[in-house]
Amino acid sequence: MKNSENGASDNRMNFLGWKVDIYIGIWVILLLLTLGEVILAFLPFPKMALASGLIAMAVYKAALVGWYYMHLRYEPRNLWILAICPLPLAFILVLAVMTEFGWLVG
């Protein structure tokens, strides 16, 4: 079964102007984001803002890994729909059980 769809040709991306291998480019972004997260975690902001900021960065990093490293960008569209279909279930479970302990409803 030939594995044709991974277009090896466009494996370059421009990163701050100069051409670099896409995987290395994404790698650098991931490292910077992780560094940013570690710094952000110890800044004196209110807890909620910190938490949501950190989670947003984590989700973005996860999306980067999924989109580039797991080649979702080359796959047919319905594969990444399939890939994210369990996430709403996770949200439903966690958010519903959190209402047990006063979230949203007193």
């Binding site: 594995n3 769809e5 991974n6 992780t34 984590a58 490293y69 594969l79 996430l87 996770a90 959190m98």
Partner: protein
């Protein structure tokens, strides 16, 4: 529609998703893994919301710098995995073997750093059981949820390393070619998934 009926029908699954079976199988398996980690991480979030006093502030108990380095390590192993896959796509068997070895080493390093971290925490009395949690901050729920989540993630990384060794041996025997390297891509998917789970875990366990 009823075009000329040719005896040897091309087996590519025309009504399928245009993805070879093993890759589709791995993606479907990863969905069940997402649900497994949902139940563990979900319990952590719920218990943390229910009993915030049981949990300590970031860095108070857990060694964030060490695990940040560990996270770098896992991200690098993700890159070496994808470089290995890119290598075999061009048929560069040597490159595949080199990058696979790098991934295996980094994976093992990650697990051993985590084991070391566990030993350090245990000395501080940070243990899962209710009876022997004697750390200076947080409560037994903190220990229990921490060890369950990171423990099962570590187990998944170790299984991944074993599978990588298996793939590495087949690579040494030259069983992967440009035309057929499904095994490399499938194990790559698993490895990136494990890295992705760690990215989420690192943030919500260590940094929040």
């Amino acid at each position: 529609m009823s075009d000329a009926v040719t005896a040897s029908i091309d087996r590519t699954p025309e009504p399928g998703m245009g993805v070879f079976n093993k890759k589709l199988g791995m993606w479907v398996f990863l969905l069940s893994e997402v649900m497994f980690f949902t139940s563990l991480i979900g319990s952590y979030i719920i218990l943390r919301y229910a009993h915030p006093d049981h949990f300590a502030a970031p860095g108070e108990l857990l060694n964030v710098n060490l695990t940040a380095a560990n996270t770098f390590l896992l991200i690098c192993s993700s890159v070496s995995m994808v470089k290995a896959f890119a290598a075999i796509q061009q048929g560069d068997l040597k490159g595949l073997q080199r990058w696979l070895l790098a991934t295996i080493l980094m994976g093992t390093a990650f697990v051993s750093v985590q084991a070391y971290e566990y030993i350090m925490l245990a000395h501080e009395g940070f243990l899962p059981a209710l009876a022997d949690y004697t750390a200076h901050a947080g409560g037994p729920l903190y220990g229990a949820t921490f060890y369950v989540m990171t423990g099962f993630h570590g187990a998944h990384v170790s299984l991944g390393v074993l599978a990588l060794i298996f793939v590495y041996i087949r690579a040494l025997r030259g069983e992967y070619t440009v035309a057929d390297h499904e095994g490399v891509e499938v194990i790559g998917l698993y490895w990136h998934f494990v890295d992705l789970v760690w990215i989420i875990l690192f943030t919500i366990v260590y940094l929040i």
